[in-house]
Structures are given as C-alpha cells and as structure tokens.
Amino acid sequence: MSSSNENAAERVRVTVDAIYRSDSRRVFATLVRLLGDFDLAEEALHDAFRAALEQWPQEGMPANPRAWLVSTGRFKAIDNLRRRARFVDLPPDAAERLGTDDSEGRDPADIGNGGASLMALAERVADGLGDPAAWDDESVEDDRLRLIFTCCHPALSPDAQVALTLREVCGLTTEEIARAFLTAPSTLAQRIVRAKAKIRDARIPYQVPTREDLPERLDAVLRVVYLVFNEGYSASLGGSLTRHDLSEEAIRLGRLLIELLPEPEAQGLLALMLLHESRRAARTSPGGELILLDEQDRALWNRDQIAQGLALVERALSSRRFGPYTLQAAIAAVHAEAPSAGETDWAQIVGLYNVLLRIEPSPVVELNRAVAVAMYDGPEAGLTLVDGILARGDLEDYHLAHAARADLCRRLERTAEARAAYERALSLTRQEPERRFLERRLNELLD
C-alpha cells in the first residue's frame, strides 16, 4: 500500500472516530427502533462502524454518514439473523407458525427460541427497508427521545434507569457509570443486562408516552438527565474536573424535552443546568485548579447561557407549578445576577432554600442551606447547622460536608478543627482537582 493510501485510510479513521463520538448513540437509537432489540442494535452499530472503516477509504465518504451507518447496520443485522437462523434447529411447528401467525415474528423475546423466529425477525426487519422514516433527521431525534423514555420507564428500578440511560443514551462505559455511583463494575454490568432483559421480557415499548402519561414519566427522565449533567459537570473519573460532552449532552436532552413538553420543571432543570454550565470557564484555573464561586472571575461567566437560564427560571416560576429543579435554578439565578460575591442577595438565597427544604427535604439541601446561612448570619450560625447535620450521621461520608465544616472553622480561626476537617474531606474525595484544592487550603493552614 502506498503512503498516500495509508494517509487516506488514516484520515478516514479519524473521521470515523469523530462520527462515532458525535453520532453513535443517535444511530443506536434508530437501530433499536428498526431492530426492536437493544443487543441486536448494539451489535449492528459496531458492525456498521467496522464496515465504515473498511469501505470508506476505498469508496469515499457517503453524503450522509449517519444514514449510511443506520442502513448498513440494519443490513448487517438481517445478515446475522439469517445466518444464525440456519444454525438453529427448527422446532416441529416452525413452518406452521411462520405460515399462520405473524405476531410471533414480532416478538424480540423469542430470539434464540428457534431458527424460525430468527428468520421471521430477519424478514420483518428486511420488510421495513424502504421506510423513509428510517433516516430523516426528525425521526432520528424522536428515536433518541424514545430511547430516553424507554430507559427511564417506571417498570425498571430507579438504579437501572440511570445506568441504562448513561450506557445506552449517553454511551458511557460501564466502568465510568460504576465509578459515578460508587458501585462495582460487575454489579453495574449485571444491572444493565437485567434491565435489557426486562425491556425484552415485559415488552417495555419503544415509544414516547401519551400526553396523559407524559408528566409522570417526565419526572423520571428529568432525574436521570440531571444525574448525567452532574456526571459531566464534576466527572468522577480521571484528573479533569469537568467532562464537557456529557454536560452538553444533558443540556441538549433538556432542550429536546422542553420542545416536546414545555413543563415548568423541565424548564427549571434546563435553567439549572445552563446556569451551572455558564460558570464553567471560571470554575477552574488555567492550571486545572478548582476555583470556588466567591473567588471566580465573573467576567468569565457565559452571559448568553445566563440570559437563557434566567428567562427559563422566570417562565417556570410564573407557572406556579414548579418543583425542586426550578427552586435550585432560582438559587443559581440569584448568584448569576450578583455583580460580585460580596453583593450576593443571601437573604433571598436562604429564603429559597427554606422553600426547597420544605418540598424536598434532604441532608444535602440542608447542608447547602447551612452554607448560605453562614454567608448571611456569619460562620458561627452556619457551623452550628453543619455540626447538627454531621451529628445525625447523615453526611458522615460526604466530603463536601467536611469541606464546608473546614471552611467555616477556618473563617472562625479554629485552625486545629479546620485542619482535621480538611483532612477528613481529603480522605473522602475522589476527584483530583478537589483533592488539590483541599490540599492547598490545608497547606495554607499549616504555614
């Protein structure tokens, strides 16, 4: 092979990698609809990308790579099913079943139960080949939404919903998800396998819920989207504090949801994510060091995202049907509107936390409220609240609870206590930038 051919192959490989990163989950979502099975779709997806690596250097890039991948994936799946069908013994009634009943062929749960149903499935998939809905952009976006609602179906356990969405919609590895949830990778892998089996066995449909069911089903989706955002915002893996693609993905999902159903809480969640995201550039130093809110250079905040976030919060609040996401967004909005840390309206923030605590009581919200109280009434008042929470044992293993205590002790010049709390926080944190930040603070106390 000449070196120019090698260069062409290398260029294609780089392009395919890029398309894999940007579009593989979209292709997957469409393949699930076309093939009716998650595992078949996953296999077809990988076959399609492998074919792209082999064919594109010779034949050139297709005009619409995503459509090419969907179509190729589908053909590969049909081939695989036909080939497998030939290796499976036909049950005695196979011919009869194929001839008389067409509903059985539709049942992906029957895969592996005999060559006949595999063949029937292959034919069904092949029958739909002319379907133009297979690759127009709108259907493909709908497919992503179908995939989200299926992954967040209430018939799946909450743990499984989150794991499946991160795996199937966002394409995270099992290892990444396991780290994010402090679970063993094998446990997580099994959770995903079980969830997919349940989708198949109980026939969880691949569709966007009816308008009637949508509000309830949306709650589950919002919870999962926010977890995805947080995974991107403060990545649990590796040395970098943030993983841009995941937060962007969550925001994109948030926008899509609002298009579908302009519910206040969906707006509130999108606002919350945008307002957090707006601080991204200010949140770390060029050297990758964590910078807390009160020390951030507010000129670096993304004004465009703040404007979008503020508009969404206002719309959600005016509906008077808002929930915890909208309230958290409102708190973030108060920060966003303050020209400097010193000019923050802490009274309003404490007030918003009071409402939040009433509708969704949790130790973490209590902790955040305590920090706001410390800003409004002074560190002494905040410390009393933090110690109260820690004394109950609720947040004993939560590094931010100890970091908050350390910070308040530091401000009260209770150095020994501050040092002990920083050390405890350090022993609990899993993020490299947070670790460096805590070490820095600890070293300042030792000087």
């Binding site: 049950p91 005695p92 009634d93 196979a94 079943r97 008389t100 009943d101 509903s103 059985e104 049942d107 749960a109 029957d110 139960n113 005999g114 006949a116 149903s117 179906h153 209430p154 018939a155 799946l156 356990s157 499984a160 079980r194 089996a197 349940k198 066995d201 109980a202 026939r203 969880i204 449909p205 569709q207 819920p209 069911d213 309830e216």
Partner: protein, 133 residues
C-alpha cells in the same frame, strides 16, 4: 368447584441447565396431557421469572408502577386475570382498572409464549392460558 394451583419453586426454568429444563418441560407435558384426559384441566400458563414483573398501585387516581414482584408485602393473592395487551404500558393501563389496584396492588407478569413451553403445555397454536386453544 375450580381451584387455582400456584406453582412456586426456588429455581425457575430460566435458571436450570438446558438439559434439566428440557426434562422438566417433558414432565409438564406428561402431567398436562394426563389432566386433559382425566377432565381436570381448565387452563394453565408458565410465567416468565419475577425479574420481569412490574407491580402497580393506584392511589388517589394516580398509577404508580415499580419494578419487581409484590412478594415482600403483607398483601395476599386473591385472584387473577389473564389479559392480552400489546406491551407493558397497555397492560399497566388495563391492570390499573382492576378494582383491587386501589387498595392493594396488582403484579403484572409476562406469560411464557416460547414454542417449547407452548408445545409442552399442549397448545397447538399460539393462543395460551384459557385452555380453549
């Protein structure tokens, strides 16, 4: 008088080695044939494992669905329906109208319709459950 016999075991067919499952099915084939002939047979089905179960409750007009069987509660089995639905959403919709869903709960479990089961239970076609196939 009709009686419902509930089949409970620690190991379900899906967890058995292939050969054991085949042997077990063969025993069911023999038993089912026998009670068909003796006139005791009314209907039967094999269920997919509890992992495929969804339990629903209706409270204040709101349907809540959760993953898994009802077994851990104090509720007692009081009857059953076999329904035909195109997917779990339709099954949840129908089951949520069972009166007991408002006070107790209804577990929804898919019925096994694979060819081996159907053949062992003596259903020639694909209709299951009501014994009229």
């Amino acid at each position: 008088m009709k009686y419902l016999c509930l089949i409970c075991a620690e190991t379900v067919m899906e967890q058995m080695p292939e050969a054991d499952a085949e042997k077990h099915l063969e025993e069911y084939r023999e038993f089912t044939d026998g009670i068909r002939k003796s006139g005791h047979f009314v209907g039967c089905n094999r269920l997919l494992p509890p992992a495929a179960a969804t339990t629903i409750r209706v409270r204040n007009g709101k349907v809540s669905a959760t993953d898994g069987p009802y077994a851990e509660t104090k509720e007692q089995l009081g009857g059953y329906y076999v329904i035909e639905a195109k997917d779990i959403d339709e099954a949840i919709e129908v089951a949520s109208r069972i009166p007991a869903a408002k006070i107790g709960c209804v577990e929804i479990r898919p019925i096994a319709e694979d060819s081996k089961t159907l053949s062992a239970l003596g259903f020639v076609g694909l209709t299951t459950g009501d014994g009229t196939a």
